[in-house]
């Protein structure tokens, strides 16, 4: 038997909603509806509108992201996001030693004073939990000195974070982050609204499958089934959803070639 993995709650919930009504929604649609077809149901027209708004929002978020990147370059290096770890002086860079993902914490001022771990790394951008972990390791030696060091590290961290926030305010980075968050919330609302229409609109079904394919959080065999399903219902799609389905299916074809 094919081995299955646990699905996301969001996906499972969608499935339960879809199970009852998609068949009737499919049957109610014309086989080849034109983009401006008056035969489109109110639900389909609504989904097309939601999809257009989502496309606009995607473009807006891309612009915000570019502006945020530009604002970040105006900040000093230590205040920007960056790698959590650095190699201590003299250490050899072994692939996989340094976590490749950026973190948002500021870089410490006294890099040379930071403890070196067994992999030869120092935590350049620690959070409070990292500082506590360092204290726990250090207190096995001189506890009084370790406690003093922990207090100093906490105070220095707090001060550095305040300075970083000041830089973020100065460059407009904070404002852009807030706008990006608001846009992300709006995107989630739009996608939820599309999801809610999937029981009465084949356009919503196609749109939501495209969202899940784009998210790429599912197993390959699931995404492949979504893609094949999208291709199978493609003749019933209209407007921008049909155009985007074509693009997505073409990309899938190129990826497989």
């Amino acid at each position: 038997m094919t081995t299955m993995t646990a699905s996301t709650t969001r996906r499972a919930a969608l499935g339960a909603i879809l199970a009852s009504g998609a068949a009737s929604a499919t049957a109610a649609l014309p086989a080849h509806a034109a983009p401006e077809s008056p035969a489109l149901s109110a639900a389909d027209r609504r989904v097309l509108d939601l999809w257009r708004r989502r496309a606009t929002l995607i473009a807006f978020r891309e612009r915000l992201s570019e502006q945020r990147d530009a604002a970040e370059t105006q900040m000093p290096q230590w205040a920007r996001s960056g790698l959590k770890y650095r190699l201590a002086k003299g250490e050899i860079d072994i692939p996989g030693t340094l976590d490749p993902y950026d973190v948002g914490w500021p870089e410490v001022a006294d890099l040379d004073q930071q403890p070196v771990d067994v992999l030869g790394r120092i935590i350049a951008r620690p959070n409070v939990e990292d500082l506590y972990d360092q204290f726990v390791k250090a207190k096995n030696g001189d506890r009084k000195q370790a406690t003093h060091g922990f207090l100093q590290a906490l105070l220095a961290h707090d001060e550095r974070v305040k300075e970083q926030k000041a830089e973020q305010e100065r460059t407009g980075y904070s404002r852009l982050i807030a706008r990006e968050q608001a846009a992300a919330d709006k995107m989630a609302d739009l996608e939820d609204a599309i999801e809610k229409k999937t029981d009465i609109s084949i356009l919503a079904l196609a749109a939501y499958m495209m969202i899940l394919i784009r998210m790429d959080d599912e197993e390959d065999y699931v995404l492949r089934a979504f893609r094949a399903s999208l291709a199978a219902i493609r003749p019933r799609l209209v407007g921008e959803i049909a155009d985007d389905a074509d693009r997505m299916l073409a990309q899938g074809g190129e990826a497989r070639a």
Binding site: A6, A23, V222, A228
Partner: protein, 134 residues
């Protein structure tokens, strides 16, 4: 059935019949516990048939429907499979259309099959061979 079926669709319909037959055999052998080896072999054949159907989902809507039903049997698989099956139902034919219709009216298990007498493994393997060769 209006338009003539493609070779991939014809193959999918034949594989679907093989799959149903083999599924019952695998279940029978698994429940009867007569021979662990035979039961495992039956499941191997079942998986091989599923792989053959999987390979055709881009070229055959019948194969796609079969895969949606097979994978939809697992409760961890999204109900989106059912929705997709609903959406392509008008394009389905033959035993796959019948199975899809049954599956879509049943909430719990997909697909529900009536009990059959078990076929032996040799028949099941030759069934696959016929489909692949044909």
């Amino acid at each position: 059935m209006n338009a003539p079926l493609s070779q991939a669709d014809e193959r999918a319909l034949a594989l679907w019949d093989c799959w149903r037959e083999q599924k019952e055999r695998a279940e029978y052998l698994g429940e009867s516990s007569r021979s662990r080896e035979k039961a495992d072999a039956a499941v191997d054949v079942l998986v091989a048939i599923e792989d053959l159907l999987q390979a055709d989902i881009d070229s055959s809507v019948q194969a796609l429907a079969a895969v949606l039903m097979i994978e939809g049997r697992d409760e961890s698989v999204p109900g989106l499979y059912r929705a997709a099956l609903s959406a392509i139902r008008p394009q389905l034919v033959g035993t796959i259309a019948e199975a899809a219709a049954r599956a879509l009216v049943q909430k719990a298990e997909m697909p529900h099959e009536r009990a059959r007498s078990p076929a032996d493994r040799r028949d099941a393997v030759s069934c696959v061979s016929r489909v692949v060769a044909g």
